[in-house]
């Protein structure tokens, strides 16, 4: 937190009309987190953290969020490139459509996934009949649900980075004999690497916290589809202290990620 200290040094006076709501905003966002810390059973923290279910859920969460991020990178970076660099009819519509998961309630996303990738769905039925692959209520289903919800974060970050990057570097690469693919891998990607990294971290954090689409599409089977947020929800019904501990783990991971990304988060698109 060096920025406020620097600002104080300039001796600028902050208008009260801005300061009061800003302070209220911080309180509103931070107080619930403080409440979580207050209710944390610190004495029994260690045994609860090492309880078998917790580690399983945490491992599954991290694995699924990582796989979902990789999937988003594989599909989202080329899509962002297309949106940023190629003029094609209906580009505005594509751009609007791929960001729909941002505003869609995740549960609705889960239902939609179920309708398409479910065993009776057009794609799910075909997968089942052809390869014997079932997606809903599997770990793969968790990855798909998380990727569905998190990909827009990656696309927006990478597209913004691509638009900000000087495309004349790509022209320079072309005059040196590089085709479009080589230019993309050797010049464009390294130039927008910070944007891709920021997008991937945001995407990962969003996937880690995903709840609605996951529980709808993949269900809640411990060890297979029960990620941390699902475990929190389940624990809340039986053991509030367990829920608090699980939440604390999730909170710690999120804060670490976002703190590492603070500047990007503020200046990003």
């Amino acid at each position: 937190m060096t920025a406020p200290a620097r600002r104080r040094g300039t001796g600028q006076r902050v208008p009260v009309a801005l300061l009061v709501p800003a302070a209220l905003g911080v309180l509103f966002l931070v107080l619930p987190l403080g409440g979580l810390l207050l209710r944390t059973p610190w004495t029994s923290l260690a045994p609860r953290l090492t309880a078998p279910g917790v580690l399983t859920a945490l491992r599954l969460s991290v694995q699924c969020a990582t796989l979902a991020t990789l999937l988003c990178l594989a599909l989202g970076v080329p899509l962002a490139w297309l949106l940023a660099r190629v003029e094609f009819p209906g580009r505005r519509w594509v751009r609007a459509l791929v960001t729909v998961p941002l505003v869609l309630p995740p549960v609705v996303g889960g239902v939609a996934l179920l309708l398409v990738f479910g065993r009776r769905g057009p794609v799910g039925g075909w997968l089942d009949a052809t390869f014997g692959v079932t997606l809903p209520f599997t770990t793969t289903g968790v990855v798909l649900a998380e990727a569905f919800v998190a990909m827009p974060f990656l696309i927006i970050a990478v597209e913004g980075a691509l638009r900000g990057a000087d495309h004349r570097y790509e022209e320079a690469a072309a005059t040196l004999g590089a085709g479009r693919w080589t230019t993309f891998t050797r010049i464009t990607l390294p130039l927008v690497a910070p944007g891709v990294a920021a997008g991937a971290v945001l995407c990962w954090a969003r996937a880690l916290g995903e709840f609605g689409a996951t529980i709808t599409f993949a269900g809640n089977y411990p060890g297979r589809t029960q990620t941390m947020p699902l475990a929190v929800y389940l624990a809340l019904e039986t053991d509030v202290e367990a829920a608090v501990v699980l939440s604390l783990v999730l909170l710690t991971v999120s804060v670490l990620i976002l703190a590492g990304l603070r500047d990007r988060w503020i200046t990003g698109p």
Binding site: R168, A172, T175, L176, G177, A178, T182, L191
Partner: protein
């Protein structure tokens, strides 16, 4: 091989602008496209590199058709034997100087080692061996320019293109870099096209000047011809001459309103006449004697120009005159003042409008 190495008729139509430039460059020749900003020079350069397609005309390099809209033939930039030095160099910021230079040779299929060796060799030729491991942001403007030149030459291009190669440099670096660039352009066996709005760069670096205004070639020729026989106001201003158009009769060129300029060149018909500002003599009264060689003028402005005073004159013949401070003091020059001007015949040069 006979004929020019580069032969093109570059036509680009854009909303409200048309580029129409005929360009021929021989092997080993350096041609400067010189013109004011917005004249279409950079667009012409981009069509040569393949970064902008022609809308009509053609472009042939070393016997290979690179662009001809009529037959829908177009060679993509990465397949053209062309090297470009961009105005702000566009060195890849994430690569070292050596990797920047090695990028082109690598794309030409050279193995990594050989490409790096060639890059090291080229960095040596531009005197930057010690800077091979640096990133572009760690290089000074002049060094970055030389890395950009090495990068463009490392692909051994048939055609070397330079877009305002010295514009981004400060005056002192510019002088050194210009001399350095001149040496490499002389060594370059292929054709070279240089785009600049600076007449000094063009005169120092190019074998031939092509003056482009509003997308058209208004004059071309070697430095001597262009500087002594300008054909447009833009060129005349660049080389510091007064240019007028009139009708020549023997040793007189008749301008507007019965004014005339004497000359030692004998010719008849439509003619241009040029004279340096120092050749104009100002008189407070109409001098006695030959009437048509003198014309009335109004002082529009006076400002310092080197160790002279430059006097802007309006009237039937708008022109500029350079006078010494002593003369100026004697004339008591003030804006709005009526005076008389004459030009010495031996300082003027007249030549026909039609080539």
């Amino acid at each position: 091989m006979t004929g020019p190495l580069l032969d093109g008729h570059l036509v680009v139509d854009r909303a409200g602008f048309r580029l129409d430039v005929r360009l021929r460059v021989a092997a080993g020749e350096v041609v400067a496209l010189l013109g004011p900003n917005g004249a279409g020079k950079t667009t012409a350069l981009r069509t040569l590199a393949g970064l902008h397609p022609l809308t009509a005309g053609w472009l042939r390099l070393d016997g290979v058709e690179l662009d001809r809209p009529a037959t829908r033939s177009f060679v993509r930039p990465e397949r053209r034997p062309v090297g470009v030095v961009f105005q702000d160099y566009l060195l890849f910021p994430h690569l070292t100087a050596r990797d920047n230079v090695a990028f082109g040779p690598r794309r030409q299929g050279l193995p990594r080692r050989a490409a790096r060796e060639r890059a090291t060799d080229w960095l040596g030729r531009v005197g930057l061996t010690a800077h091979a491991g640096r990133r572009p942001r760690q290089l000074s403007g002049g060094q970055a320019q030389r890395v950009a030149l090495a990068r463009a030459l490392a692909v051994q291009p048939t055609l070397l293109l330079l877009d305002e190669p010295l514009a981004a440099l400060d005056a002192r670096t510019r002088l050194d870099t210009r001399a350095h660039l001149h040496r490499h352009l002389t060594d370059h066996a292929g054709a070279a096209v240089l785009v600049t709005h600076d007449p000094l760069d063009a005169l120092a670096l190019a074998d031939r000047l092509v003056i482009v205004e509003d997308g058209r070639v208004v004059q071309e020729g070697d430095a001597g011809t262009v500087t002594t026989r300008p054909r447009t106001d833009y060129v005349a201003r660049l080389v510091g001459l007064n240019l007028h158009r009139g009708r020549a009769e023997g040793r007189l060129v008749h301008l507007a309103d019965g004014c005339a300029v004497p000359t030692t060149d004998r010719l008849d018909g439509d003619a241009f006449v040029v004279f340096p500002p120092t050749a104009v003599t100002l008189h407070p009264e109409r001098p006695a004697g030959d009437a048509p060689h003198t014309w009335p003028a109004t002082v529009a402005g006076v400002h310092r120009h080197g160790d002279h005073l430059r006097v802007q004159l309006t009237g039937p013949v708008s022109t500029v005159a350079d006078v010494t401070p002593v003369v100026a003091a004697g004339l008591r020059l003030l804006p709005g003042q009526q005076i008389w001007a004459t030009v010495a015949a031996d300082a003027t040069r007249a030549y026909p409008v039609d080539h």
